[in-house]
């Protein structure tokens, strides 16, 4: 005996097939209209959890990019200030040199001393440079003015911190953004640049060539430290430039992986949708045709 085809069986088959076909069609339509392969985590749990990792990676790269940009803009200010300090120091050395020997007149020495005094004030301003309320040469004491003028025009000792402030610009990659002012102004010398200039002014006024030479030599040391700091900042800025490129490459790679994990393959989705549409229509057609005929019609 052959298979008994029953009314209910036929009906159940037809509805199941129509349901499945319409479900497939709906799924492809969703992919095409949303552009996303994954709607729920359960569509592909392992891809979804990898996608999560990529998103975190991208979030971190974005953060590093922001830190890089902020550090870069801060370092360009530091670089400008350091260049200014270099020119002021050069001017101070020139002024002090002009007072050397017995040739300069008392008036010329007074002029040189006055020039030195002006340069000292300018250097003071430079080392007290602040950006968004933070002093750049006070180390971690960024809200404390590193050098203040005390009684009698003398500059008080360094009030900042010897600890520098660093920020992360990548995994295990840090860059200094607030510097130890005293390491530049004094270093291993007996006095800082301001006391040195004060001594020079006294020496220039007195015409004491030995003391002037000592002062010039000390200024030379300061000059050396400033240019060293400048090249440190310069190379840090170069690193940051390279870092920006690297970060954007990392982000691009992560975004591509994320897109592969989450986004629908449009060509596939559209083809799939057309196939599913055809299958759906076929299932509807088959059901309609099958239920159209019955022996009842012929009795």
């Amino acid at each position: 005996m052959g298979l008994r085809v029953t009314f209910n069986g036929q009906f159940r088959d037809a509805t199941t097939n129509i349901e499945r076909a319409s479900e497939r069609l709906l799924e492809f339509q969703r992919q095409v209209s949303s552009g996303r392969r994954l709607d729920r985590v359960s569509d592909d749990p392992s891809s979804a959890s990898s996608a999560l990792g990529e998103r975190t990676k991208i979030a971190q790269v974005d953060q590093f990019t922001r830190s890089t940009e902020s550090a870069y803009s801060r370092l360009s200010v530091v670089d400008t200030v350091l260049s200014d300090i270099v020119s002021k120091l050069t001017a101070a050395q020139v002024a002090a040199t002009s007072a050397l020997g017995t040739t300069p007149t008392a008036a010329q020495r007074t002029a040189a001393a006055q020039q030195l005094d002006g340069l000292k004030a300018a250097l003071l301003d430079d080392f007290n440079t602040s950006l968004q309320g933070n002093y750049l040469f006070a180390g971690t004491k960024s809200t404390t003015k590193p050098y203040v003028v005390g009684g009698g025009g003398t500059v008080a000792a360094y009030a900042g911190s010897s600890t520098e402030v660093q920020v992360d610009v990548d995994q295990d990659r840090i860059v200094t953004v607030a510097f130890d002012g005293s390491a530049i102004t004094q270093g291993t010398d007996a006095t800082d640049v301001f006391a040195t200039i004060d001594a020079l002014i006294t020496a220039v006024n007195a015409g004491d060539s030995d003391a002037i030479n000592t002062g010039i030599a000390t200024l030379g040391n300061v000059f050396g430290r400033v240019t060293a700091a400048q090249s440190r900042v310069g190379s840090a800025m170069q690193t940051l430039d390279a870092e920006k490129l690297r970060l954007s490459a990392t982000k691009l790679a992560s975004s591509e992986r994320l897109s592969k994990l989450e986004d629908a393959n449009m060509a596939e989705a559209i083809t799939g949708m057309q196939q599913a549409d055809t299958a759906y229509k076929a299932a509807l057609g088959a059901a309609a045709t099958a239920s159209k005929v019955s022996l009842m019609d012929y009795l």
């Binding site: 298979l3 008994r4 085809v5 029953t6 009314f7 209910n8 069986g9 159940r12 088959d13 199941t16 994954l38 709607d39 729920r40 985590v41 359960s42 569509d43 592909d44 749990p45 392992s46 979804a48 959890s49 996608a51 999560l52 990792g53 998103r55 975190t56 979030a59 971190q60 974005d62 953060q63 922001r66 830190s67 902020s70 550090a71 968004q132 309320g133 933070n134 002093y135 006070a138 180390g139 971690t140 004491k141 960024s142 809200t143 911190s161 600890t163 402030v165 660093q166 920020v167 992360d168 995994q171 607030a178 989450e262 019955s294 022996l295 009842m296 009795l299």
Partner: protein, 461 residues
């Protein structure tokens, strides 16, 4: 030798038999859409001749049989609990999945934003804007944990509500089966047994969808039903209710039978699925979520308390729990930003020394994003969150896939059952034609007998 009148008698019986055949066909057609209906067939036998010169006494209806295959009914009762169980799990987990949210739109975003805010603070530790941002993101992270925990909790209590409802349905079904059992002997006497059995089997099927039961069909219209572990639900006309008793700490229903807790023995059917979601799946997710919240708080706090705030004072805890915890249980629900810190952004410790401009602590907290501090130093916070998302997705997908497979099995069995018991309209149409033609032919024969008797009578007159 039979006479003409005997022939008339037997023809009348034949006409009755054919008409009865049409009746049965009509009954089959009428019940084509009745769930659980097994098609009936009429059993006819020819009546043996009374003596050697008799052709026979025509036809007789022996009975009406319902065509069913007990083996298929039993297979169905075995497969349905597993199928319905997976369906219940899949349904409930789909809701949990929605609660967990899609990657890139959920807790992972809040975690990233929180660590971002500390990185921004490290860039500018004295900025009050950066400090406000940290408070904002810390608060958002805590709220996100709280929301997630309460959504999981409500998934659990939804399952509990449904469990209580299902237990009621089970009791209704078993009491109806017991009532039918009670009428079995009367039904057998009136020929209503096939209809009664159809109804019983339909009820047993509905019961199998709710809970895994074993059905003992005595074949005489009495079904005995026991739970998987042998606890009786129906014995002859006696019915035993399942009960629910609210148990601490959360007041969820335990299922009892005759005063004994049988919750752990129910594994199949909708009830088994709901119990699994309520007692196994969701608690495991909550544990993971709590442990994540607890660890975020602990790791952040251990750095934060070692640091110094903007005023140079040693930092307090950044996160606190609104209720006291035992272990990490309930951590997600109770996570908040320390109210003292929330009230004064200067209390956020960004520095590791007393200088306001230092950013070591903020950098350290920002670096926690990528730090492998969990699962004995193998996983980051996002990894652990990813594992939770993966587990929920996997469980949900497994249940849905499993349900699909089992649904197909059930469909196949239903199809096989239909081949035996289902009504085919074409077949019934053919049967109708068959009985109708047979009726016509018998009527024609009746007429012939009558004509013959007529002819005889006319000769006599």
């Amino acid at each position: 030798m039979s006479d003409l009148l005997t022939s008339l008698n037997s023809t009348a019986r034949s006409l009755d038999a054919q008409r009865f055949g049409m009746d049965v066909t009509g009954q089959n057609i009428a019940n084509v859409n009745t769930p659980g209906y097994s098609r009936r067939t009429i059993d006819l036998v020819s009546v043996a001749p009374y003596d050697p010169t008799s052709a026979g006494g025509g036809v007789e209806v022996v009975g009406v049989r319902a065509l069913r295959d007990r083996l298929l009914d039993r297979r169905l009762q075995q497969e349905l609990p597993a199928e319905r169980r997976e369906a219940a799990v899949a349904d409930a987990l789909r809701m949990v999945e929605a609660a967990i949210g899609r990657p890139g739109e959920s807790l992972d975003v809040k975690l990233n934003a929180f660590f971002d805010s500390f990185a921004k603070l490290a860039d500018n530790p004295t900025s009050s804007v950066a400090r406000q941002e940290v408070l904002l993101q810390g608060g958002a992270l805590a709220t996100s944990f709280q929301d997630m925990a309460s959504r999981l909790r409500s998934a659990q209590s939804d399952a509990d509500q449904e469990i209580r409802g299902v237990v009621d349905q089970v009791n209704t079904l078993t009491s109806r089966i017991a009532a039918l059992n009670a009428t079995a002997s009367r039904a057998a006497a009136t020929g209503a047994l096939p209809a009664l059995q159809d109804e019983q089997l339909t009820l047993a099927r509905q019961l199998s969808e709710l809970v895994d039961v074993s059905v003992i069909d005595h074949g005489n219209g009495v079904l005995d039903i026991t739970l998987g572990n042998g606890k009786p639900l129906v014995v002859a006309e006696h019915q035993y209710d399942l009960g629910t008793s609210s148990t601490p700490p959360l007041g969820y229903a335990a299922i009892t039978s005759g005063g004994t807790d049988v919750t752990s023995q129910i594994t199949g059917g909708r009830l088994g699925g709901l119990l699994q979601v309520r007692d196994v799946n969701v608690p495991a997710y909550l544990d993971q979520l709590d442990s994540l919240a607890y660890n975020v708080a602990t790791e952040v706090n251990s750095l934060h308390t070692a640091g110094y705030d903007q005023t140079g004072t040693a930092g307090g805890a950044f996160f606190t729990f609104s209720t006291s915890l035992v272990g990490s249980a309930g951590a997600a629900q109770a996570l908040t930003v320390n109210p003292a810190v929330a009230a004064d952004a200067r209390k956020i410790a960004a520095a590791s020394i007393t200088d306001a401009g230092d950013n070591q602590t903020a950098r350290g907290i920002a670096a926690l994003r990528e730090a492998r501090v969990l699962n004995s130093g193998t996983a980051t916070f996002t990894d652990v969150w990813g594992q939770l998302v993966y587990t929920v997705g996997r469980d949900s997908k497994d249940a849905a896939d499993d349900q699909l497979t089992r649904e197909e099995i059930v469909r196949q069995i239903d199809q096989l059952r239909d081949q035996v018991s289902g009504v085919s309209l074409d077949e019934e149409a053919a049967n109708l034609l068959k009985f109708q033609r047979a009726y016509e032919a018998n009527a024609r024969f009746f007429r012939a007998c009558e004509d013959t008797i007529d002819a005889l009578l006319q000769n006599l007159s």
